[in-house]
């Protein structure tokens, strides 16, 4: 099993890249359960209702999700919403029509969305997790965060930081 990359603490008032603010790793807990570990940087949080999980490998399906209790936050529009800070472990109960031994890997798209306490919110962030079937614990966040946009390089831009 690979240790989750740590979410980075930001210097005062400096906004982290979304890939640094929220990191995730996953492993097969058993043949039918995926364990996702999100690390959340200090002063950042994720919304429970904004998580989304889907397989891109045919035949696989998320049957149930198990979340720990989060912290309730008052929202003027949506009422109380549940948020997570520091870390959150989510368990996905999965089913498959395929025989496990017939597949070497399958892919899970894990989407999350969060904000920083300074009043900034990031667009939904999708991680593509390529996982090995069976009971092995090899789990690779093979691709980095797959953002819904292409972030320009910082150098050479009209804007500096």
């Amino acid at each position: 099993m690979f240790a989750p990359p740590p979410a980075v603490a930001a210097p005062e008032d400096e906004l982290l890249d979304v890939e640094q603010a929220f990191t995730v790793t996953a492993r097969m807990r058993d043949a039918n359960t995926i364990e996702l570990d999100y690390r959340i940087a200090p002063k950042y949080y994720l919304y429970r209702k904004r998580f989304k999980f889907e397989f891109t490998t045919a035949g696989w399906r998320v049957k149930a999700r198990k979340y720990p209790a989060g912290k309730m936050k008052q929202d003027a529009t949506f009422g109380y919403v549940e948020t997570y800070r520091d870390s959150v472990r989510i368990l996905l109960s999965i089913t498959s029509k395929a025989k496990v031994e017939d597949l070497s890997y399958f892919e899970l798209r894990a989407t999350s969305q969060g904000c920083a306490d300074i009043g900034i919110c990031y667009p939904p962030q999708t991680h593509r997790l390529r996982m090995k079937t069976g009971l092995t614990e090899i789990v690779l966040p093979e691709s980095a965060a797959t953002l819904p946009f292409s972030k320009p390089p910082r150098t050479g831009l009209p804007f500096g930081r």
Binding site: L15, V18, T77, Y122, R161
Partner: protein, 169 residues
């Protein structure tokens, strides 16, 4: 031709003591050529108000700080409409989501929405982090004269508009 922007305004930037940052170099032509659908799915060109000051605010329904600052934007729209201010909210939501939100909230300024292009367009206007809310002030002629990442401070925004818009006496 790229606009040469010499105007450096005091930016109430969330990054505190960071040195002033140059304004985005998107040309007025490129800015005005951009179009987004409104909540009735009609394409609206940002170039249809070349004589007005545009306060363009990028937001989303999933962004609580964005929603919290919308009353401030509505207030500024009402206060400065006669001084040629047009507030435009560009949502990073699906149009239907933004429309549902608008139905339940008193918003007196134009709302546009494009889930796939709003963030990338904001990045062209200097929003390096791609985070929301993000706002820019565009002068008549299409030059970006001010940008701000994060929630805006009401008195600071009011003072900025009072100092920049014509007809202030």
């Amino acid at each position: 031709m790229l606009a040469v922007i010499a105007l450096w305004l005091d930016q109430p930037d969330r990054r505190g003591s960071a040195p002033p940052i140059p304004l985005p170099a998107i040309s007025p032509g490129a800015f005005y050529a951009s179009t987004f659908p409104d909540l009735q799915q009609r394409e609206q060109s940002l170039g249809q108000w070349p004589q007005d000051w545009l306060l363009v605010n990028f937001w989303a329904t999933w962004c609580v700080p964005c929603r919290e600052e919308m009353p401030l934007l509505a207030k500024m729209q009402a206060k400065y409409a006669q001084r040629h201010l047009k507030v435009i909210g560009i949502s990073a939501d699906q149009t239907t989501k933004a429309a549902n939100f608008a139905q339940n909230n008193a918003i007196n300024y134009l709302l546009l929405a494009d889930e796939s292009r709003a963030i990338s367009f904001s990045q062209r206007l200097g929003n390096l982090d791609g985070a929301l809310p993000y706002s820019v002030l565009v002068s008549p002629g299409g030059a970006i004269v001010w940008t701000h990442a994060g929630p805006m401070d009401g008195p600071a925004l009011d003072a900025l508009l009072a100092s920049q818009l014509p007809g202030g006496g």
